[in-house]
């Protein structure tokens, strides 16, 4: 018993210092005004001023679009990779970009999208003229989706990989067409993977801030951007923490909505 506690100590310490303590600090900070007085004012302001609510709705909306797009791209991709011969190699190629620093990838897109970037060069070459691509909603969503896709593909691929192929055969054997098999057997059984992917994409998308600035050109204001502004620019840590608390709550809501509803205890083989 004693040795077990000894082994667990580093983990408990880690959780206490780097998970519980920061959250407690954020919660604590959110009850102080910019002048350092205890107040509920931050929450009042958040709920009463339309700006913050609009920002929240905005964040959720963008995160939603990014998640849906990532899912639409990732599911077919994961399905396809799973049917390829060297599927582990292909998966590795998909995961490879996630090893590259996020900032570097974002800068790469600035190079591609800017007025003198490769895409505008190409558009001018085919006679379509140059367009404003950078600093648009579309470019923000595109880049954010691009960055999130591997995190969506991975859990879906794993779910598909674990699916017992004889279930697909059984479905075909019982008269189901390829599409019916997908809808009635494959998709429902890979739902846990889809949910995990949604969690892995939606929650980080809520608090994206760097891409909003570099690609969205600060035209897209999300909760992440607001937190960054409050902590680094206006130094209103109380308000920043309040939004942080709201984000944490939002994460719990998403986790709750995508939980395993029917726990049958049965493993998907």
């Amino acid at each position: 018993m004693k040795s077990k506690t000894a082994y667990l100590t580093p983990y408990f310490l880690w959780i206490a210092l780097f998970v519980i303590a920061p959250m407690a600090l954020i919660l604590y900070q959110s009850f102080f005004s910019i002048t350092g007085h205890f107040t509920f004012g931050n929450y009042e302001q958040y709920l009463s001023s339309g700006v913050y609510l609009k920002m929240t709705v905005n964040s959720i909306w963008y995160a939603f679009i990014i998640t849906v797009l990532a899912l639409l791209v990732s599911y077919p991709t994961a399905y396809l990779i799973n049917h390829l011969k060297n599927k582990q190699l292909w998966l590795l190629l998909i995961i490879l970009p996630t090893w590259i620093n996020l900032l570097l990838k974002t800068y790469a897109f600035i190079g591609l999208f800017s007025q003198n970037g490769s895409i505008n060069d190409f558009l001018r070459f085919v006679g379509l003229g140059s367009h404003q691509i950078l600093f648009t909603d579309a470019s923000f969503i595109f880049v954010a989706t691009y960055i999130e896709i591997p995190f969506m593909i991975l859990p879906i691929f794993n779910a598909l990989d674990e699916l017992n192929p004889s279930l697909v055969n059984a479905s075909r054997d019982l008269g189901a067409s390829a599409w019916q098999t997908f809808r009635r057997v494959i998709f429902p059984l890979t739902m846990p993977g889809v949910k995990a992917g949604v969690q892995a994409v939606f929650i980080p998308s809520l608090s994206l801030f760097m891409i909003t600035r570099l690609i969205g050109g600060n035209r897209v204001i999300t909760l992440g951007t607001a937190i960054e502004e409050h902590f680094l620019v206006t130094q209103n840590w109380g308000m920043g923490s309040t939004i942080g608390v709201i984000l944490i709550l939002a994460m719990f809501v998403v986790m709750f909505l995508t939980r395993d509803r029917k726990n049958k205890g049965g493993q998907i083989r």
């Binding site: 004889s166 059984a170 019982l174 059984l189 049965g266």
Partner: protein
């Protein structure tokens, strides 16, 4: 006769260099219980998957009720499969699993409920409809898999070693249940197994396979009593196989003596193999039987004693006897001419059948 439901014409199947099926020809009559029997890797499951539509032959034609179905996808064939690992859908409960095929066919709701109930009753699982698959035991999963297949009222039911995961007692139970289920439904069953006992107990017809070929087909009694060659004799049941020579019609010599037998149609002095089943041998006092042997081992198996012995020519003999003997003792073995079955080397099934036809 209702005619042939399934016919294989010169079917072969190759993967790259390896040929897994070599020129398979057979006919399956409606309403019978067939078994494909053979060691693992003999191609029996390949045949089953071809009938189901999961595999296409490299050459040859598959006929279903006279129609060529080589290119018909699995979902449009009137056959259903009971898979070795059951392949029940874990996200659906028992009733939803059984209803799966019916829902695909857009059968009316009320009718589905009725058919599901009926199918579950046939496999003795009435009232299990709302159970989750993970709550079932192995035997119950097996029954659900069968119910799910028969609910679609297929013309042919394919069973891919469905009993191999069950324990001995449950397997025996399921064997007789499957047999009576087949009789009641009148559906053609094609059962794949490597268990010869199972095959003998359940089938109307057995196809014995090895290395991508059907070696012998016939009723369980035919195959047991008159195996075509060494492999079949050895694979089906226990046997004593002794090399010998055909002296004349109805006379065979082995172990230094000549014996009367009931086989004929072979050349004089043709080298043959002689099969005598262990249970056909009776132990007598020394020098009163046809052969004298020395007992080597004796094993009590409940129903009988399994005895091994050797004769003066060092041929090993297996004897199943309900009477006890003594290890090391010289005893006689008595058998009748009908207990001797003579096999020629390399005889194919057509010649074998024709020869038997002539003198039986």
């Amino acid at each position: 006769m209702a005619g042939n439901v399934i016919e294989f014409r010169h079917i072969s199947k190759s993967y790259d260099e390896t040929q897994v099926l070599k020129q398979i020809d057979f006919e399956i009559e409606a309403g019978k219980f067939y078994t494909l029997l053979g060691p693992s890797g003999c191609g029996k499951t390949t045949i089953l998957r071809m009938i189901a539509g999961f595999l296409q032959p490299t050459a040859g034609d598959i006929l279903f009720e006279g129609q060529r179905v080589n290119d018909l996808p699995a979902n449009r064939r009137q056959v259903n499969t009971v898979f070795q690992d059951y392949a029940l859908f874990p996200h659906l409960n028992v009733a939803q699993n059984v209803a799966f095929g019916l829902e695909i066919k857009k059968v009316a709701k009320g009718q589905i409920a009725q058919k599901v109930e009926e199918a579950l009753r046939l496999v003795q699982l009435s009232g299990y409809g709302n159970r989750e698959i993970s709550e079932l035991s192995g035997g119950q999963k097996q029954r659900v898999a069968i119910a799910r297949a028969i609910a679609n009222e297929p013309k042919v039911l394919l069973l891919d070693e469905p009993l191999s995961a069950l324990d001995h007692k449950l397997r025996k139970e399921m064997q007789s249940e499957l047999r009576s289920l087949q009789r009641r439904l009148g559906i053609t069953f094609i059962f794949v197994t490597h268990d010869q006992e199972e095959a003998l107990a359940m089938s109307d017809q057995i196809f014995v396979m090895n290395a991508g070929k059907i070696l012998q087909s016939g009723t369980p009694v035919d195959i047991y009593d008159e195996p075509i060659n060494h492999f079949v004799a050895d694979f089906i049941g226990e046997s004593n196989i002794i090399p010998g020579k055909m002296k004349a019609d109805y006379v065979v010599s082995f172990d230094g003596h000549e014996f009367d037998c009931v086989d004929a149609g072979m050349k004089q002095n043709e080298p043959v193999e002689v099969v005598i089943r262990p249970e056909d041998l009776d132990i007598t006092a020394a020098n009163t039987g046809q052969v004298n042997v020395t007992v080597d081992t004796q094993l009590f198996r409940g129903v009988d004693y399994q005895i091994t012995a050797h004769d003066v020519n060092d041929n090993e003999w297996k004897i199943n006897s309900i009477h006890k003997t003594t290890v090391g003792q010289l005893v006689g073995l008595a058998f009748d001419p009908e207990d001797i079955h003579v096999m020629r080397y390399g005889e194919d099934e057509a010649t074998f059948d024709a020869r038997l036809e002539r003198y039986e």
